[in-house]
Amino acid sequence: MSRPPEQRSETRFSDFKHAYNEAQALAEANRCLYCEDAPCIQACPTSIDIPEFIRKIATGNLKGSARTIFSSNILGMSCARVCPVETLCVGDCVFNAMEAPPIQIGKLQRYSTDIAFDKEWRFFEAGPDSGQSVGLIGGGPASLAAAHELRRLGHACTIYEKRSVLGGLNSTGVAPYKMKADRAADEVEWVLAIGGIDVQLGVEIGKDVSWADLESEHDALFFGAGLGPDRFLKVDGEDLSGVFGAVDWIEAMKLQDLDLASVRSAVVVGGGNTAVDAVRELLGLGVPKVTMVYRGDEAKMSGYQHEWREAKVEGALSIWRGVPTAFTGSGKLESITVAALNADKKPTGEASALPADLALLAIGQGKLGDMLGSLDGVTVEWGRVVTAEDGATGRPGLYAGGDAANGGKEVVNAAAEGMRAARGIDAYLGGDRG
């Protein structure tokens, strides 16, 4: 499996949330109340039995602790680092109601899963061969989680990934102060270690292989290809050197060594989590001035408030109710014209010029669901593949999950949907092996 190169811009970041040492983990684990029917479990898309894995840390049953986590979520290592725990499990910890510090579930999960990785503990093996095979399109969290579960159920798996690396956004998109690409590669290896997962890199559906080929090759298919390319504003000057889609730029920052020495002023357009990540990444890489331009108000931005608060502490500037109407410069970006908007996001007629030598557009990504639009039985809404609870599309044998189906959520949602789809596929294939 190909691993990311040594020289990468992202390696300049350290973990913003430090890993626990043993003493810290024990102190925190012992603070957990071990709630019954715990709200934190309900808040976790993969329903990890959080009080149980924490209790096992406290008793020194580390292997059992990791087993509890991975049994519910094979991507528990990356989720421990990248989950927005403040809005999920930690946000629902009962200590919040007591106005006491909530249990640091993410850090404890990281403690347990990191040890499992370090010690190379293996908890799962492939089930008896079912004689059936499943093709998985896309090599990100949804497909990895699905493939691992399918292997436990005995089905042969082939993952088709158009990039040269597996891991999806865990490898190419996660903010490096949460997790870097090499750790994502560790996790890919950890998942593939169950064996029997064939990986086809550099294969794009519709180009290198057709749907008809896939459907004849496999007994069932899982579509987990994520989202499409960055959207652009379709205004003048977007083709100037220095203007990039944010997801593209982040991928480059994570997998290559970028030269940002000449960047004095960067602008990130958008108010979602990709925008906030990009702002913090630019600041962390030493860009002196980073401004977020968002068409709405601060209170209405879709990026997590706890992340944006940190960004402001790190020096982020912002322009609210603004939208770029032109990117200008001679040969390369020099200035952005920002039109002012009113509360209804309509132009007020005022505009200002914002000097900038780098602009990242984080205004959303295209949806890949349209790739399936031509298939009979598949319903696509707003670019998202519509699925039942078990991931089934309307086409027999075709399942979907992750961003392609949910429109863009967290890694943990993709992991949950991948696992559910695997069970749906198993049922479809006639498996009832418990």
Binding site: A27, N30, L33, D37, P39, V94, M98
Partner: protein, 423 residues
């Protein structure tokens, strides 16, 4: 400020807080530092024929991340020359005349007792404590708890000590007996001026699950030791109260066992202790804990309107009775304060798995559990597991039944209320 002056069997100290006979009272320098910190008295580390100790000597019981809620040791009596000990005791008494210094003793023969008592008195010490309690090592040599477990021997040696001593004699009792009463009475018959209890409880503190040897480990072996620390307080309180409420037992008690703070001390005093002795908490935290003990006791006495510490001695004894005298018609049910409840459902699982299945999840999203009061037996378990102070209270139910104990029911036909939760 209340008067904290303590008189325990004729031994006077400025407050009821004494160092127990143990490592914190091993030497003159230590005891003087303890007195400087505020301790009212010190029972010197037991003197006898100096012994040779092992390493290691201590072990601890940890719970939920809290170290040493229980503690044990396999250390023996003093390993320092008697001459040195006596010289230091005399020096302490010379420099701290108002503090109580009690010499703990453990020897074998009548002649040895006579000799060591004379030398102890010569130091100017305020009292003696006969160590009839040590449950490890010394008992194998016929001393310590081997004496304390035989009322006849206890009485005899106590009477020797009283014969030779011109200063008060306390007898330190072992808890390693089925019933403490005969042993307290033996000391009283022997003429003791008071008893101190409890000494440590025979125990194995833990087992090294990697080496297959109990702790504390001495090479490839270990032995049973004496259990003490916070966890033993309930056992000590019972034995203290058991003696204090016995009409035939009329000598003072120095309470020992799991005293970690002023609250524990007050509890011992309410159950009949005139003074309290502390070892483990000092070993874990240092002499400095006495500042809070003195202050806390003072505040408590002031708040309750007591002019002196001695007024609370035995105050809870009338409230300690036999089970057969308890009012079976007294009924409580659990009430959960929905404002402070945090929805952890610890009470739900505890009640379902460990009690009477009468606290249920809330069918709404509120997560404030629902108590089925018709089924609630008022057992207290929910309140014990609740992490929020005062969230769950046990509220008395006016059921219309006159008080009736089991004894009254048996002997006088008193009417009992219908049982709850027994179907």
């Amino acid at each position: 400020m209340a008067d904290l002056t303590t008189n325990c069997g004729g031994i006077i100290s400025p407050n009821p807080f004494w160092l127990a006979s143990a490592p914190p009272a091993n030497s003159g320098k230590q005891v003087m530092r303890a007195f400087d910190a505020g301790w009212g008295g010190a029972v010197w580390k037991t003197l006898g024929q100096p012994i040779q100790n092992v390493s290691s000597r201590f072990g601890a019981t940890n719970y939920g991340g809290t170290a040493a809620i229980g503690f044990n040791n396999i250390e023996l009596i003093t390993d320092r020359p008697l001459d040195v000990n006596f010289a230091e005791i005399a020096e302490v008494k010379r420099l701290y005349p108002k503090h109580a210094v009690i010499v703990s003793l453990m020897v074998e023969t009548r002649q040895e007792w006579q000799d060591i008592i004379k030398r102890s008195i010569d130091t100017g010490a305020d009292g003696l404590e006969l160590n009839f309690g040590c449950p490890h090592g010394m008992c194998e040599r016929g001393m310590g708890s081997a004496v304390g477990q035989e009322p006849r021997v206890n009485e005899e040696i106590t009477s020797w000590a009283k014969e030779y001593s011109s200063i008060p004699v306390l007898v330190k009792l072992t808890p390693n007996v089925g019933d403490i009463l005969p042993h307290g009475h033996a000391a009283q018959r022997g003429g003791a001026d008071g008893v101190s209890l409890i000494n440590t409880i025979k125990s194995i503190i833990s087992v090294d699950i990697d080496r297959f040897v109990p702790n504390p480990r001495v090479g490839s072996m270990s032995t049973n030791g004496g259990y003490c620390g916070a966890a033993v307080k309930p056992i000590a309180l019972h034995m203290c109260g058991q003696l204090a409420r016995d009409p035939g037992f009329n000598i003072p008690i120095s309470g020992i066992g799991g005293v970690t703070n002023w609250r524990d001390a007050v509890e011992f005093m309410l159950l009949g202790a005139s003074s309290v002795q502390v070892c483990t908490e000092v070993m874990l935290k240092g002499y400095r804990i006495v500042e809070d003990m003195i202050e806390g006791l003072n505040e408590y006495l002031d708040e309750k309107g007591f002019a002196s510490a001695s007024e609370i001695v035995g105050k809870a004894i009338p409230g300690y009775s036999e089970w057969g005298n308890l009012d079976l018609n007294y009924e409580t049910v659990a009430k959960i304060d929905s404002e402070s409840c945090i929805g952890c459902y610890k009470c739900v699982v505890a009640c379902h798995d460990g009690a009477h299945q009468c606290i249920h999840p809330n069918p709404d999203d509120a997560r404030v559990p629902i108590v089925d009061e018709d089924e609630c037996v008022g057992c207290n378990l929910c309140q014990i597991v609740c992490p929020v102070p005062d969230c769950i209270s046990l509220v008395e139910v006016a059921n219309g039944f006159a008080p009736a104990s089991w004894n009254e029911h048996l002997n006088e036909g008193a009417v009992l209320r219908p049982k709850k939760g027994s179907h």
